[in-house]
Symmetry: C2
């Protein structure tokens, strides 16, 4: 076997590939965070991020992972003993539930089978059953199953009931349309290592006026994630200076492309991956897959964990396996962030070669042909 | 006036200058955090960081600022209603107090005048008065005043009483000797943007066996900062991948230099700055200054805030002003992190020129001469 240079392709739902220009932006000289020079950079980064969230609400940058931003939502909005409705359709819905329970909320879950989705009607019904619920917590893209929820539909129902809607958009934002203000979303959280094309380490959170009103009456103690500290001073503790340089440039890139075009690009890439997967005779795991990632059932003849490690360790192509009870049963290919046509070609080619190596019968090129046909049809 | 290139010199107590090699290390390709490849990098980074802390205790890396690590100490160690003793000698002692009070502890402060320090005898006395206290919270280097505490002395007393000692070593670690295991420190917290020579965004925390025992009985709810989540899996939430690349390299650099040599380098640089400041006829603010930074009283004839902005905006030399009630009354020059002889020369030269511009009478070179004499005496 000839020795071959191995290049890395990151096709997991976060961290996602970081463009070289953004990596280098993070290598710029660290400056002091309490200078007018840095304040200006931070303000511009926040303004650009608001565009990405489609909001004029308050938006804060946290030195934390996305989970930190989720915790900030919970500790500021829910007091012990209060009832909340949580859509639980996978690992990240479960994380909302754990967080809410950790801080003493009474959780009414809308428990879905993994891969399934909730409907606005289900939310409406639950809110009617529980008129004392104060908020609905949900997930734009449930990363563990590849399922996208109808947040716009949920929000209509939730706001008609006069309740708060809190959205984990960590993996969904940027890949999937989300309009914070138009849809009247009270709190939206995200993280840097997904659609933003950045390394991990920054969390994002928005607060609507209704969210602030609720937060004012909140009784859970908090400090690092206390929203009022950030309202008073957007950098109450040392911010992640270099990641904020990178964020400023990333949101400039997204604005230049135009957020609607970014969403459309992700839709086309998702279509391409899914046509490729289907052509190989594989089945989707999610009943409502979105633009972020595609979760695929591992064929019975194939070892799912081996598939992921073979692609990663031999081909340099990192996809994600299943988490928790889905381990070995599904694999997940992301089409998220700094992605273009040929990334999907690489993904499906690596999949074809890995599946064949593991004994799955397929004709080379079958999936790739389907991918190319999507691009021709979409004229991209 | 001829136009002059302006280079930047970061002489504030964090963020500190990041060596180019470390900046570029952060620009390496982001890889997935759940791969064996990244796990190895993270393990090595943690091992190296333990060397810097001089510990074999559990040590965790957090995607947070240092304040996040402080919060982690409080929420895991103190239950509501429990009594804690807090050394409060400046803004960061106050932060311990605020954090402990936020989470329901009864705080017995050892309240010091700004710039003053506590003695082991004062800790002993307080512990005798309050035998029901469970822990002592203190600060290695109180950044707001430039005061270094006798942590070794404190620890002897605290451990003799069988209590926990929790140390904020955020700005002090690496500049100032600290031996976690030898001194029996239960919890030590730090942050990346100080002696580690890294951009901000990583917090560090260590837990001794006694700390774990206490944490097991703790009743404050926590999630993002729950220590047991990290004990089970050092990366329970997406870690700050690129900062961890940088950390791995930074601790290699520190190990190569040798931690005792690093401490000694900081001591010499601190001496040099202080001799320079004294030679200019200025007074120190702190009664027990250390190796981290030197806080200096602004002479009466000079506008302290102007001094800081002139040095920063015209000379490119960033020092820190006073915080809170000390605003305009003191300035602070750090000698922390990636610093060598000529950084102190630049600091004192900029200070001479800025003071003269603002009307303070001095002869050029007076401070610089004193600095050079220190280096000659120390033979470096």
């Amino acid at each position: 076997m000839a020795k071959m240079v191995k290049k890395n392709y990151l096709l997991a739902p976060g961290p996602t590939p970081v463009p070289t220009d953004l990596l280098l932006e993070g290598a710029r000289e660290t400056i002091h965070h309490r200078t007018p020079q840095f304040k200006k950079i931070m303000e511009e980064a926040i303004e650009g991020t608001k565009y990405v969230f489609q909001t004029t609400n308050d938006l804060f940058l946290l030195a934390s992972s996305g989970t930190g931003a989720m915790e900030m939502a919970v500790v500021n909005l829910v007091s012990p003993g209060e009832k909340v409705i949580v859509v639980v359709g996978g690992k990240f819905g479960e994380r909302w539930q754990q967080l809410c329970e950790t801080y003493g909320a009474e959780v009414v879950p809308i428990k879905l089978e993994y891969g399934d989705y909730a409907t606005p009607e289900m939310i409406d019904e639950k809110l009617k059953e529980h008129p004392d619920a104060v908020a609905v917590f949900t997930t734009l893209s449930e990363t563990s199953t590849g399922t996208v929820m109808d947040i716009e539909g949920f929000a209509k129902v939730v706001k008609a009931h006069g309740k708060l809607i809190v959205v984990d958009a960590i993996s969904g934002l940027i890949a999937q349309p989300l309009k914070t203000d138009e849809w009247k979303l009270d709190v939206v959280v995200a993280g840097s290592q997904k659609g933003f094309m950045l390394p991990p380490g920054l969390g994002f959170i928005t607060f609507s006026e209704d969210a602030w009103k609720k937060a004012e009456k909140n009784s859970v103690p908090s400090f690092y994630f206390n929203a009022f500290a950030y309202k008073k001073n957007p950098a109450p503790y040392t911010p992640a200076v270099n990641l904020i340089y990178q964020l400023k440039k990333a949101v400039e890139m997204l604005k230049e492309e135009g957020i609607e075009n970014v969403w459309e690009r992700h839709r086309i890439l998702a279509d391409a991956i899914r046509e490729g997967v289907k052509a190989l005779g594989l089945e989707f795991f999610s009943k409502r897959p979105g633009n972020v990632l595609t979760a695929v059932k591992v064929p019975e003849s194939v070892d799912g964990q081996k598939l992921v490690s073979l692609m990663r360790d031999e081909f340099g192509v990192t996809i994600a396996g299943g988490q928790g009870s889905m381990k070995g049963k599904i694999f997940r290919i992301a089409h998220l962030g700094y992605m273009s046509k040929f990334d999907t070609i690489v993904a499906i080619s690596a999949l074809e070669m890995a599946l064949r190596k593991l004994g799955y019968k397929l004709e080379y090129g079958t999936g790739l042909k389907a991918v190319e046909e999507v691009f021709e049809r979409e004229d991209v």
